[in-house]
Each structure stands twice: as structure tokens, then as C-alpha cells.
Symmetry: D2
Subunit: 339 residues, 4 copies
Amino acid sequence: MLIVLGLETPRLDVDNIINKIEKLGCTPHEIPGVSKLAIGITGPTDTLNEEDFNLMPSVQEVVRITKKYKLVSRQMKFDDTLINVGENVIGGKELFICAGPCSVESRDQIFEIAGILKELGIKYLRAGAYKPRSSPYAFQGLKEKGLEYLDEVKKVFGLKIVTEVLNSVSLPAVAEVADILQIGARNMQNYSLIVEAGQYQKPILLKRGMSATVEDLLLSAEYILAQNNYNVILCERGIRTFETSTRNTLDLNAVPVIKKNSHLPIIVDPSHGVGIWDKVPAMAMASIAAGADGLILEVHHKPSEALSDGYQSLTPEQFKLLLNKLKELAPVVGREIKL
Amino acid sequence: MLIVLGLETPRLDVDNIINKIEKLGCTPHEIPGVSKLAIGITGPTDTLNEEDFNLMPSVQEVVRITKKYKLVSRQMKFDDTLINVGENVIGGKELFICAGPCSVESRDQIFEIAGILKELGIKYLRAGAYKPRSSPYAFQGLKEKGLEYLDEVKKVFGLKIVTEVLNSVSLPAVAEVADILQIGARNMQNYSLIVEAGQYQKPILLKRGMSATVEDLLLSAEYILAQNNYNVILCERGIRTFETSTRNTLDLNAVPVIKKNSHLPIIVDPSHGVGIWDKVPAMAMASIAAGADGLILEVHHKPSEALSDGYQSLTPEQFKLLLNKLKELAPVVGREIKL
Amino acid sequence: MLIVLGLETPRLDVDNIINKIEKLGCTPHEIPGVSKLAIGITGPTDTLNEEDFNLMPSVQEVVRITKKYKLVSRQMKFDDTLINVGENVIGGKELFICAGPCSVESRDQIFEIAGILKELGIKYLRAGAYKPRSSPYAFQGLKEKGLEYLDEVKKVFGLKIVTEVLNSVSLPAVAEVADILQIGARNMQNYSLIVEAGQYQKPILLKRGMSATVEDLLLSAEYILAQNNYNVILCERGIRTFETSTRNTLDLNAVPVIKKNSHLPIIVDPSHGVGIWDKVPAMAMASIAAGADGLILEVHHKPSEALSDGYQSLTPEQFKLLLNKLKELAPVVGREIKL
Amino acid sequence: MLIVLGLETPRLDVDNIINKIEKLGCTPHEIPGVSKLAIGITGPTDTLNEEDFNLMPSVQEVVRITKKYKLVSRQMKFDDTLINVGENVIGGKELFICAGPCSVESRDQIFEIAGILKELGIKYLRAGAYKPRSSPYAFQGLKEKGLEYLDEVKKVFGLKIVTEVLNSVSLPAVAEVADILQIGARNMQNYSLIVEAGQYQKPILLKRGMSATVEDLLLSAEYILAQNNYNVILCERGIRTFETSTRNTLDLNAVPVIKKNSHLPIIVDPSHGVGIWDKVPAMAMASIAAGADGLILEVHHKPSEALSDGYQSLTPEQFKLLLNKLKELAPVVGREIKL
């Protein structure tokens, strides 16, 4: 349920409403908007009555939220959510472009790639220190050592770090280095981890699970917002279907669906989505044309020697060509790329 | 197998090669290209030997085609296939834009919509006279009457007609009116119909089946090319997955995959692909950004009164807005829209 | 809509109801049951009123059918449909067991296999004369010659023939030989063919399409029943999913779902369903345990030399072992196998 | 890689081989079988040479394991793995039958159901104290309180407890009560949790993820075996497909596929697999007929009042009827049910 108030509502009225919600056993969430102030209510709202609030001072409207997800829905919060990462903003006019290798492989490798990306004007570096792998015998990442290198790179180049957290044991260490904490597709429904990660109040990049519906993804995000961390970036990265000509089926339809139903930013990972480097530029362009707020892309200076996912990585040259095309495309859909 | 010759090869040499292929029990296909002449070979090519042809006069190269599909593959024919429809060309720089209602509902309706589209500069009208419907009790189209109205519209407005053929009984009548014969998703593996339709030597718009892989689609197209009709336009229109927030999952990944593996034009039908009108413009833009050669879109002047698929139809106003955005987008991907 | 009458209703009353239905622009279907007579109504039933019939003589009840499919639903006809094929009955206590090669490959081959099956007491022989193949270059069946051999085998061994019809051109010839006309998965939504085949009033074996929901399958069957041919045998044969360890995902859940929602018999094809011979016996057993009315199985005397689908065929020895297990299983689920 | 030795091999020879493997940087795993002793090797086996071991004393054979999974494969260990739970054995002739409510809802509820199951001779009780739910607002289980009740029930009725663990924080408490630790479908690729749970050396019930292939499931199990805990019970519980008439698509094909490729027991959860109680008995029967080693079923004394998943729960009466049918079925597939 949602209580809509004017922006200029006296604090006393707001507090009265909040107190009443709590007395009725529910949880209030203040949601400031551009033209309205809203108070979202979660919990056992079935027991609430519109009339309980309708006649209270300053209340303009009381709205039932019909979706299963509440705080992430656009019914609850009409304005797009903007997420600040240092001086940068995600979800606004400027597109979010994040690039880097699948994993940190060595100090040299990550410095090499970070240097190239910095040169290109990129602000966000992606690279995994901890890698979830289907096989226990596959390369699992450099772990603590990888975090150390990321921290160095961050200081040397001033890049914002986007890196995945796999479990609660390593969460504090990852959170110290990461500017954006990534929850991978395999952990999208690992609610314990999501909730713990969300408590750091850092932006969370939440990847859609391979068999998750858009609704499932939004419900997972709801777990984070329900703890009053609104800094969630959703990420489409391909779903599992019968088609075998691509690694996954990148589901760009999710972009307009999410834009309609939620105020959260949605970005796309075409590298994992199609899984073959030569189709990545086409799908990166398509993502932005579909309305995505940004891209996360795998870039490696020597893809054929990468320890993981080399076949889906762009070389710096290919990435540069793509960036140029994206810069032309952005204004067509009312966006911009600042490099 | 593919025999590559120079463009200036004497006819006698070509004929000798063709004769030899036929003597060996296979079928030759002459494939003229921009810089080379090729002779594709289908049939029991396992029994052929590269050496049988390598030393023949004018032969520059003999290539084994590794894909299951042969004539549709880019290995067999490197240059993009251009399809002429009257004075228009599909598959070249100009994007193919086809619009119209799901079905012909009345003389008034189709004249109304055709007039609007003509006004907008659209060259291709889509509308079904025969409709395949899951339920025998749903509206099945105006049939012969619908064809009659399409024929009138064609003459009055000079629009090219794209319409679906459902079976061999009505094929001759449909082929008389249609400039492009559409094979629907449900009939993509109805090989008898495909082969018969292909014999008319008219362009065939072949829609991907709901559970067809890209390879399946290309193999179906191969049935048509194998009869020496190269005028096939492939169409992505959504596949079946677990996701329920869209009617189908429009698989734009198919666009770069097909562009790499085949020389045939590939267009996209976002109306059926997502099935909800307000997501159609985003996915139409994404289709062109992904490299598609065109779009087929449902446009209806009164969507809420449409006898079929109204919820996925754009109004003329929405369509016009989309066209304007597409015109801005086209040059970014090296294309143009002429209206 | 469904009008329920007593079994002993005077003919005059029945005719009055039928006349009224027709006058109201709908189509009546007399459906005799074990304890009741029912008159199903299809067409624009939205315009009908329960009261129009409620007070007519002999009418016991008027029921709205809520499913999209009508005549195939168990709401419309409560008793299981029994289908007679000569002296045999499909859908009753006795399980339907149909076996044979994927395709007729030669006179010798089909006589060899038919002889073995006859020896084992099998009553139904399956074998394709016309084969739908993804590739135009794959073996497409012996066609007319194949039908000829099937006709001989039928006369010599007295086996009932189950064979696929691919198009309307060959339908008359196929219908002359077939005791049961098979519509393959790829043609499940080729409504023109289904309707034409249904008009022969022979039993139709309707295979579920690779991406068809159970509802889609029942709606396709509805096309046949709507022409007053109730002799439809549904067949589950695997759907397309992301799983690659089996050729298709045999969806046995469809068996109890269909048993609940329809009165039509449902059989299973585990050979196509899993696509690897050594998993076929387990899934054949599972099919019967799930409540299926029978099985259609690929059996070949020399699987490794089969022209199509050899890897999913059982040898006669393997088939015999399976039959013995099935005979033990049948009484556990209230069925029997008579050989 | 696998080194095969005779059962009577002198310890010295075994130790020599183990030392050599370790010296070469790999990990040895002793796998005792019925007629042979095997030493599995995992790690960087690409660097190993068959000849390194072929000539060592007592070595009978050296085998390359071609599957991505090693220790779980039947190539590595031919005999079925038997798992002891107190005096009971899982994976042998006796079928594993585990029943109970989706979640512990109250002390009364779990005592009521446990009493009924005990009465029926059931040995394993399933019930969740911690429930993973798509929505943060849905009932998440009684948590510690739930574990407490389960512990009481265990002592009072002597039932073995099967319950899910959701995260590492609650793992120690859950492991204290559980006789079998359940890893749910959403956590199948939460490798951190799997590895930690595996270290308790208790049997692990590992449920297949909704979009996991059979290979993915076996690779997840490999994580546990790689730590020398061989007590893993695999569980098929339905995958995500386009079909909507069932909650999930229970993929029974996984049973014979896993039986062929792995030595681990595989059971089926038809309650979650189909998600509608009236289809559960048919699919339970089908599971056993397909060769499954057991079943895990939801049983609730008042399904309509259940706090979660009531629509897929059997009543005690329905469960009793099913048990009787299963008892008849078991001997047909060489199994037995002891109650």
C-alpha cells in the first residue's frame, strides 16, 4: 500500500502516519519523489484499510499495490531511481559503461587492461576475484590476491570497481574493495547473501538468474529494498532456452518490461548473454536501443589466453570500435556517453 | 561442396563442371557473386572427392561446406542476397518496413489502414486473409473475400502485399495477390507447403517456428533454395521460453547469428515477439540496432476493436513516432529508411 | 455450453433442443455417455443464455464449459473415449502397444520386422513411408513404394498400420493403407492438414508439437472433434527445453494433466521423447505407471543400419524384455496387455 | 583418471600409487568397489601420462574419465553408492520414502503429521524450518523454533529428519537436528554453501536447480565428493519450461540418464515437480517405474490451511492410497518398500 503526500507535508503529519503504520504491525518506507512524497507500506497489508489513512491530514491518495513486488515497483515510486557512485550517477541520462576481464588473472594482466580502459575514458572496471564455476576443477579466481590487485588498480587508475561476491565469509573483504557489489546469476535466489550484501548500503548489481522470470528478479531486488537500500542495479544476462547457437538467450525484452514496472536502473551484459565475442557488439547496440541504462562488457587484451570466458571477450580494439558506435547511438535514444 | 571460379570463366568450363557434378549423381547450383562465380553442390556429396574438381580448368578452389545447411550458408555464397520486389530491394542499405493489421477484417478497415500507411510513405502492407488460430472457434480470417480486398488495396494504393499462405488449396489464390508469400511460424516445418510455395518464384517471408533453433530455420529455408528460389526473407518472431511477462521471447540474438552464417536477409516481427504494444517500439529499435534488415509491424487504427491481436498493435500515431526514431537510428548502423 | 439430458429422453425433445441451438447460430454435438446423454454446443455461445434451455422438456442441467477447448474436455464428456480399430479397442483396459521402425526402408526390412512383431503378438505396426526431415538432403522415406510395402505387410500379417501423413496430396493414398493416421509433431498446428485428415473418419494419432502446451494439443484435437470425428488418440513425444542429455524432454506430466482435462486416450512415444535407446525402457515403464493408455515404440532388427533414428530404436530382444516388464506392470495400474 | 587395482592389492602398492599421484600435483581418492579397488585422480590430470602408472605393481588398468564430472561418474565407481542413515540404507533394494509438510508451522502441526506418518511406517520426515521464498513478504519458516520442534519430533517418534539449510550462519544448528541436509533447488549452484554443508559428512540431499542440466547437477555433487563426502542423494524436482499446466516440468528422463552416468542414488520430488496434488500420485508411480531410488512427498493433514504449498500436498488418506500402489509397483522394478 502507498500513501501519497505533498512534498511540503509537515513533518508532524508524516510522523503520525508512520506511527500509525507501525502500530498496525506493518513497515513504513519513506520514498521521496520529484513532485510527491510517498510512504510505502510492506508487511501484512491485507489487514489494512484504505479508510484508516484516507482521512488523515495531508494524505492525498491511498493506493493498493497490485504487483507481488512492492518497493521496486513503479506504482510505489514513479521517478527513476538514480544511483550515485562517487561523482557518477547510474540510471540518468549518462549511460553506465563497465568493462574488464572475466577474472583477475595476475597483477600484470589487470594493470594492463585497467590502463587501456582508463585511456579510453572508462570509469568502471569489472573483474572477478572470486569466480563461481560449474566444475570444482575449473579456475576459481585469485581470491584475496585478486582483491588486493583490484584495490591497487583502483588507487592507481581511479577506476570504480565492480566485482562479484560469492559468500558471506568473503563479503567484508569484497565490500572493502568494491564500489559496486555484484551478485551473480547463480546466486540471484540466494536470499541470505543478497540480504547480507544489501546491508553494506553499497550499490548492488543484481544479475538475473538463468531461469528467473522478470518477476523473480524484481522480487529478489525487493529483498534489498526492504532493508532500505534502494541502490540496486538490475542486470539482464541471458536465460536458458532450447537454442544452442548462443551460450544463453539474451532476453532484451526484459528491458522495456522492467522499465515499465520498476523505477530501478536496468543494464545488460551481452558478453555472457550471447557468449561469443563476434555477436557482442550487435547485442550491445541492441541493448541501448531497447532502453537499457548501460552495459557491462568483457574486454581482455589477449582473449585467447584468458583463464575463463576468453571466447566472449572483446579485444581493446574491438571495444573501441563498439564505443564509437555506441556514442553515435546514445543521442538517438536520449542518452549520452561521457568518456 | 563449393567450386569457386573467376567471374570471367568461359561458359564451356562452367558447363563441363556442371556436367561432371550431374554425372556423379549430385545437383549443381550456379551462385553468381560480386567478385567470384561459385557452383554449389548438394546431394550425396560425401561420395565426391576434392581432387575430382581441383584440376579442372578455371577452378580456383574447392571448399567443403561444414554446416548442415548448404545453399543458405555464407560459406556457399559470401555476398548478401538482395531480393527485388518491383522497384524495391530487400537486404540492401534500405530497411524493409512492412506494416498493417493482423488480419483483413472488412473492406473499410483495410482501406482505412492502407490509406494511412500510404500517407506515411510505407511500401509494404501486411494483413492476413487466412489466419491460423489455436482454437477452431476463433476468427479464421475473411479468406477469399480478404484476398479480394487486398487486391483492391494493392491496385488503389500501389502497396506491395505481404500475406500468409496456410495450405496448398488456397496457395494459387494467395500467390496471385501476394507480392511476398508469408509462411507462418506454425508452418515453418510444413515442408510440403514450403516447397510448393517456393515454386512460385516469389519472395518467401519465412517465419521462425516457436521452438525452432536458428539451424532449423536455415534448414527450412534450404528447402526453398534447393529448388533454385533464392528469394527467401527470414523472420525472427519470438520463441517459447519459461518467461511469461511477454507473449513470446523475441530472440534478437538470432540476428547477428544469422548474419554471420547466412547471406539471406533477416527481419524481425516485434509485434508477435513481445505481444504487448507498449514494448514494441523499444524492441523495434533494438532489432535494427542488432543489424536486422527490416521490420514487420502490426498497426491498426482501432486496436481495441481488432478481431485478432489488438493488444499488440500500434496506433498510426504510435507507429509514426516509432518511424521517426527509426529514421534517426538507421544511419548509425549504416542503413536508411526511405518513405 | 453443455445440455445434459437423461438417457431415455424422447427423440422429439432432443430434436427440439438441436433445432433451437441451430436457430441461435450455434452447432450442436450429440455426445452419448454411459449414464447421460449430452448435447455439446460450440460456436458463438457467448450469446446464449442458460435460461434459453433450462426450462425445455427433459433438460436436467445446463453447464458452461470454462476451458478454451470444448468437445475434447471432460466437462463436455465425462466417460473415457474408446476407439475401435477393427476388433481392438484403444483407451480401455487393454494397453495399446504399437511398434516398428522409424521408416520403411525396403520390402525385406519391413517384412523382417513385421514378422518379428507378429510373432511377439503385437497388433499395431508403426513405420513411416513419408518422413518429415529438418534437412532437404536427409532420407525422406520410400513414399508410394513404402505405402505399397505397408499394404502387403498388412495383408500378410494382419497387423494394423499406423503411419504418418505429411500433406494433402498424399493423404488419400496414405489413408487407404493406414488404420490409424498419424499427424507428426511438426504438423500439430497445420490445421488444414488436421482437418482434412479428420474427415476420413479414421482414428487420428495426434502428436504433441515440440513447443506445444497441453492446451495447444487439446485445441488441435478440438479441430478434429469439431467435425464429428471423435477418434483422436493424443500422443506425448517430448518437448524442447534447455536440457541436452536427452534428445527431447519427454513430459510425462502431460499424462495425468490430460487424463483430468480430457476424455481422449493419451499414449506416449518414449523413443522420440528421450532419443537414446537405452533410456527408452525406463521411460516406457514410467509412461504406463503415469496412466498412459499405451506406447508407440521404435523397434528395428538392425538399429545401427537404420536409415533414420537408429540410435533410438530397440532391438527385438530388448523390446521383448520390455514387454515382459510391461506385462507385470499393467495390472498394478489396472490395465492389461494382451499379446 | 582412474587407476584400477585388485581388491587384494597390498597396502604398500596402494600407498606408492597415492604418493606418486600427490607428487605429480594431483589428488588421489580411494574408491572401494565390490570386485575392484580404484584410485580416482582429480586435479590437473591433463599433465599425467597413462604410462606413469601402467607399469606400477598391482595396477590392472588406467582409465581416462571423459566426463567433466569425475568422482560422481560411473566410469570412476561402477557400483551403486549405498548411503547409511542409522540402520537404514538409501540406494539399495529398499525404496527411500520421505514425507511431511512443506514447512514446520507449529508444534501441534508437526507432531500431528509426524504421528500419522510414524503410524504408516514412514522412516523419514521432511519439513522446512527455514524456507527460501521468492517474496520477502512470504512466510519464511519458524527458523530456530522450527528446528526445536523437529528435534522433539525426532526424539519422540524416532523419525529421521530431512530439512533444508539456507545459509552458513544457520548451518551448524540445522546440522545438529538434520539426519539428511537438504540443499534446495535455488542453492544448487551456491557452491560455498554446498562445500560447507558437505564438510559435516552427513548425507546431503541435493536438489536439481530449475534451470540446471543433469550435467550441472552432477558437477555440483562433484563439489561435495571432491571433499571425500560420498553421501550425496540427487533429487529431480522439475525444471522450467514453457508449459504452464504444471508448476514445473518434472523431468523423469533425468532418472535413467543419471542411473547410467553416476553411481549416486537419485530420488524424485513429484510434489514440487508438478505442483498440483491430484497429479502427484501418477508422477510418484512413474518415478519409481523409471528407476528412481525413492520419493520425497508433501503430506499435510489440512492442506487448505498450510502456510506454504498446500495445493501440492497430499492428505494422509491420499498418501496411504499411494503407498499401497507403490508397494505393488516396487517388486515389478526389483525394489521393495518396508513400512
